[in-house]
Structures are given as structure tokens and as C-alpha cells.
Point group: C2
Chain length 181, copies 2
């Protein structure tokens, strides 16, 4: 179960509150592991009970108090051990591919439209990644060790999105072709 680990990884990147974590899961680690705020709060409670994170109450003016979560030594060890443990490749779970698998049932134009919508979404995601690259990773050889690793994950993301784009284009072209019966 990697939600635990995703949260620890995010907290190690930067200590913050549950609320902040939830927002950060829209980017950052969130690109590779999604979580809603309810999942996060639930998990943080467990992590605290297990002694993998500790909590600091921060009293604020003009806004609600918050709990800052800090990864403990135990927490860091727990993460480090996990990283070295052999794991299987992640299973693919993708609706669009299921749709194409039975694509002959539907109208060609409908499928082409759905492919085009996906193409655009992947293009947008790629643009996001490119902006992040420009912003934080424009000089790769000057990066700190931790950021070099994060840059690697970003590069995975860019490869992934570029490949999706290429495939969408291929699939759309396929739909436009005339085949012999």
C-alpha cells in the first residue's frame, strides 16, 4: 500500500499540514499517486499512531490552527526500507483502452472525438510538465541530489505524455483510413 509512502515522500520534500498535502497531491507526487483529502487525513492519523510522523500544532492569527506533520526518524527509515524492496510493475488501468478494445461497436466519429479529447488532455499535461521543467529543472547539472531524482520522475512523465500523443495521432489516422473489407 503506497499511499503511506507517497505521503511520507511528500512530507520529506516539505513538511506541511494535511490541508497543504491535499493540495500538493494535485501536482508533485500527486502526478504519480492520487489521493483525496479524506484519504490523506485518515492516513496521517494512522501514521501518527504508528510513530512515523509527529505533529506540531501551529496557532495562526486570522485563520484556523493547523497541524504540521513532520516525518520522524522511524518514518524515514520505514520509507528508505520500502524503496529498496522489490516491487512489481504497476498494472495499467485505462478506460480509453477498454473502449478501443470494443471500439468496433461504436460510431467512428464518436471514437475519433473521444481520441481527440484525450489527445488534448495529454497535450495539456505535457505542457504542465514542460513548465515545471522550465521553472525548476532548467539547469539539470546544478540540481541538488534530491531534485535530480525528482527530475527523473518528471522526465518519465514527459516521455509518457509524448507517447500518448503519438499514439492518439496514430489511432486517429487509423480511423480515417479506408480499408478493404
Amino acid at each position: 500500500m503506497a499511499l503511506t509512502h507517497a505521503i511520507l515522500s511528500a512530507l520529506i520534500e516539505k513538511t506541511c499540514s494535511g490541508y497543504d498535502l491535499a493540495k500538493r497531491f494535485d501536482g508533485s507526487v500527486g502526478f504519480f499517486w492520487r489521493a483525496t483529502h479524506q484519504q490523506i487525513y485518515r492516513e496521517l492519523t494512522k501514521l501518527e499512531q504508528a510513530g512515523l510522523v509527529s505533529v506540531k500544532k501551529v496557532v495562526q492569527e486570522n485563520r484556523p490552527d493547523k497541524k504540521l506533520y513532520v516525518v520522524t526518524e522511524n518514518g524515514q527509515q520505514f520509507l528508505t526500507d520500502w524503496i529498496a524492496k522489490p516491487a512489481k510493475i504497476a498494472p495499467v488501468k485505462d478506460e480509453l483502452l477498454v473502449k478501443l478494445f470494443a471500439g468496433h461497436l461504436a460510431d467512428r466519429a464518436a471514437i475519433a472525438a473521444e481520441l481527440e479529447r484525450h489527445r488534448l488532455q495529454h497535450q495539456n499535461r505535457l505542457s504542465e510538465y514542460r513548465e515545471i521543467e522550465q521553472c525548476y529543472f532548467h539547469t539539470p547539472h546544478k540540481l541538488s541530489q534530491d531534485n535530480r531524482f525528482r527530475y527523473l520522475t518528471l522526465r518519465w512523465g514527459m516521455r509518457y505524455e509524448r507517447e500518448w500523443l503519438a499514439w492518439c495521432e496514430e489511432a486517429i489516422a487509423f480511423l480515417q483510413e479506408r480499408f478493404e473489407p
Copy 2:
């Protein structure tokens, strides 16, 4: 919820029993949507109640009776409608990327080993795909309409695995490099 649709897609490709479906989910649609046999049996019961599939009892000699599931007209319409409905791109959920995100915590050799293990797994998956291509899709222009769509999904799979391989190699090379501090 696409498990429903994945099952219908698989049944449309070929009518079979719950047991057979479970096995087929190790390949075929299963490459894009995983399911355990418990999930499948549970879902088939619901699909039958909803009238999207119908059941034929088949009495066998020397082995337990089985229930053949056939997609009904309603079921086919249900699937077809779903295919045309706009959907969002699938979120990525990948442990290895979470691991790399906090990669600086772990020993370099440990991470390199994990990357290598993943590289091998992706290579194996790619070989599987290539065999399927050789076996079923070696003459693309002679394929039936439905198989052309399935071939598209296979081509996605090959792109995906090739890109993973390339990235693993990049990441491993990165770990071997010497950087200035």
C-alpha cells in the same frame, strides 16, 4: 466504474464462464484493466440482474457445470453508449515513481537494482506483446474491423513498454554518472 465495461468488452470478444473470464483477465483486456475472480463473479451477478448479460447453464461430463455468460442487446447498447461518453485521462499510479521521488534517501545500488528489476519486467511484457503481435496481428491490413481496434490497443502497449525501457536505461545511466556536488 469500468470493470463492468471491461467485462462486457471481454464477453463480446468471446462468450465464456466466470472462471474463463478470470483467466482471460491475465491477458487480453486484462492488460488494461485488472480484476480478480471474486470481483468478476460479483460483477457478473450484478450484470445478470441488470439484464446486461444472460446466463446459459452448461452441463459437462467429468467436470463441474458452468455458466456461460452472453452479452444481451441491452448490454451491447450500454457498452456502445459508454464508449462515446467523454472521459478523463487515467491517473497514473506507480510505486516506482514514488520511490524515485524520494530516491535520495536510499542507497544508490539499491535503487539501481530496483530499476533493473523493473527494466526486466517491462522487457518481458514487451516480449509478450511482440509474441501476440506475431501470432494474431502479423498481417494488419487483413484484419477484421474488431481486431483492428484491438491491434491499436496492443500498439499502445508496445509503445508504453518501449518507453519504460528507455526511461529505465536513462535512470540507470543517471545513477552511474558522477556529478559535481
